[in-house]
Structure formats: C-alpha cells, structure tokens
C-alpha cells in the first residue's frame, strides 16, 4: 500500500507498507526507490548485498511473493503490499535446509554473493524438491560468484533438498 501522509515538517512523504520477513513495516521513501536501498538503508537489513546495481549479478536477490527478484531493480512501488523475505528472514535460527546445507558444505569463500545464492536456492527448492544438476544450474545461473564456489553451491542445493525431504518424512 502506498499512501501519502503529512509529517511534522509539513512535507508530503509517501508512506509504503511492506511485509518484510513476516512483519509489517512502513517506509517513508520515494516509491521509485529500489527495494535494495529500502531494505538496507531504511530497514537496516544489510544481509542483502549491493553488487552491480543493474540486475546482472544476483547479489541482491530477495524473495518477493515467492519469486527470486533482484532487489536493485525492483522499485518500492512494486513491492508495496507484497511479502518480502530477505536472508535475515529465511529462518530465525539458521534452521532452513538451505542454510544448514550451506554450513555443512562450507560453501562461501568471500561470502559476498552468498545471501543471493541462498535466496535463489530457496526459491528453486520451494517448487522443485529434487532438482537435477541442470535444473540447479538453470535456476542459479543469474547468481554470479567471483570466488567460483559453484561446485559447492550445487552440492549444497542437493544436500538442502535431501534435508528438506528428510524433514517431511
């Protein structure tokens, strides 16, 4: 929801309501602000990273109503009223199967791209419980890792799928 409110300095500021990590948040920001900067600068959720700023690297990936969007490209107006999950909200205790698998496989090297990788992997596994190597590659090809951790990422997605399946038994 976007509504215009009058603040104490009598300037009109659009207020946008979002649901971020299960909590409703109100943000006073230009509706054309990229979601990435709303998350990082307004809501102090700095786990989502700025990489390229033009939707080419995937470091800023968050989940918007189930899709792995590039938050540097998503305007606040598109996110209004939607459900957003960031790396901080994937679980409260690192218990999400993807987080567990990432720890088990010791995936990160420098780590900068990893929150984006994890969010994309979580979206993949939400629609495909047992992805093949090809399906993993297709789903995560938009997430670039300058350290080249791709083999560990692929292993970790397989392991996360196993963990998720085991938890359902």
């Amino acid at each position: 929801m976007i509504e215009t409110t009058v603040n104490t300095t009598l300037e009109t500021t659009p207020r946008t309501t979002l649901t971020v990590n299960g909590k409703q948040r109100a943000v006073d920001a230009d509706p054309r602000t990229p979601l990435l900067w709303v998350l990082r600068d307004h809501l102090d959720l700095t786990g989502t990273k700025y990489g390229c700023g033009i939707g080419q690297c995937g470091a800023c990936t968050v989940i918007l109503d189930g899709d792995a969007v590039r938050s540097c490209q998503v305007l606040l107006s598109r996110a209004a009223g939607k459900r957003i999950t960031t790396i901080e909200g994937l679980s409260t205790d690192r218990s999400h199967p993807v987080q567990q698998a990432w720890l088990m496989e010791q995936v990160p090297q420098c780590g900068y791209c990893q929150s984006g990788q994890i969010m994309a992997a979580a979206v993949l596994l939400s629609s495909n419980r047992n992805p093949t190597d090809t399906e993993i590659d297709d789903a995560l090809s938009g997430n670039i890792c300058r350290c080249g951790t791709y083999h560990r990422i692929r292993r970790a997605v397989h392991r996360a799928a196993e963990l998720a399946r085991a938890s359902r038994r």
Binding site: I54, Q56, D67, A68, Q73, E135, A139, G142
Partner: protein, 202 residues
Amino acid sequence: MKLTTHPCRIAIVVVASSLAFSSLLRSGGRVSAQSPEQDRSLRAFAIVSSVLTSPRCLNCHVAGDSPLQSDSSLVHTMNVKRGPDGRGTPAMRCTNCHQDENSQQLHGPPGRPGWRLPPPDKRLAWQGLSIGDLCRTLKDPATNGGKSAAQLIEHVRDDRFVNWGWDPGPGRSIPPISHDAFVAHFIEWVKNGAACPQESQK
C-alpha cells in the same frame, strides 16, 4: 491510422520501399509476374520484414529456448531459458529482473509489464528463417498463435511488447522505420492479400 509526416521519415520510407522493390526484382524477378495488388503487398512486406528482423523483434522471436540480447543478438547471459510458460524457470523468472518499465541505466534490463518470451507451444519463432518463410510463418494461424489478419494488425499496432521496440531504453537501437510507418505497411501488406515472397531469400 496515423501516418508519419516528418520529411525525414517519409524519405526513409521511400528509400526503403525502393530498395526493397529492387531487392525483390533482383531475387528472381517474380514481382513482374504478380498482380498489382500482389506487387504492393510484396513491397509492403519487404519493409515490414526490415522491422521483424531487427534485434528488437528477433531477440525474443527465437527458435531455441534462450532469448537473445543487445543489437548484436547475442545469447542472453545468465543461461536464461524460456521455461514452461515463456516466463522463465524457477528462480529465473523474466520479471525477477525485467520490471514494468525500462531501466534507465546503460545495460540495465529493459521492461514492460509481464516481460516474457512466447510460450513454448506458440513460439512465433522466425530466427533464421528466409523472408518468405517468415512471411508464411507470420500469416499462418497454425504458427502465429492462432491470429487472424485483423488480430495481427491489432497486435502490431497495440501490443505493449511491439510498441516497446520503439522505446527500448538506453543503448538499444530501434527498428529502421517508425512504428506508425510499420503499422501502415503491415496494413498495406494485409489489405493487398498478404502475399509472401516465393523464394527463400534471407
């Protein structure tokens, strides 16, 4: 129908028409054996095809499962795939990056609401086709998504992705003639029988 009146645009259309007609004459000389209506239709389609084969159209009307990008029509980076509905694969949906409007940053993603490729069961693919085969693909409802002539005209006139071709965002060329001229020639092609070149000229 709104026709372009800018002198430069008219000149471009006239030159393009002449070149297209010359090209048809060179490519087998069949034009002289056609009726005047067929001649007009073929000439119009030669101009229409210059738009259809521009990167702005061709990059999404692809034969395979990956869209193309840039004026060089390179395979889309990031291993982007058409997916089961033309909107990408899980975690790689087109609208994950492509928004409702163009990014104004150079190399940023272009955008329109619902950015997608044609779905796999209606590919509307003309990458690699000769102009004649492109023409036949376009007018055959079995390969054009079930569209009648009137629906084709509506599509080229009103479709948001077609119109995007003339507003593609920074760093991308636009087709060689204006959208108004494109629609006018498209109508001219249809009105005169939607004739297609016989030969397989590329």
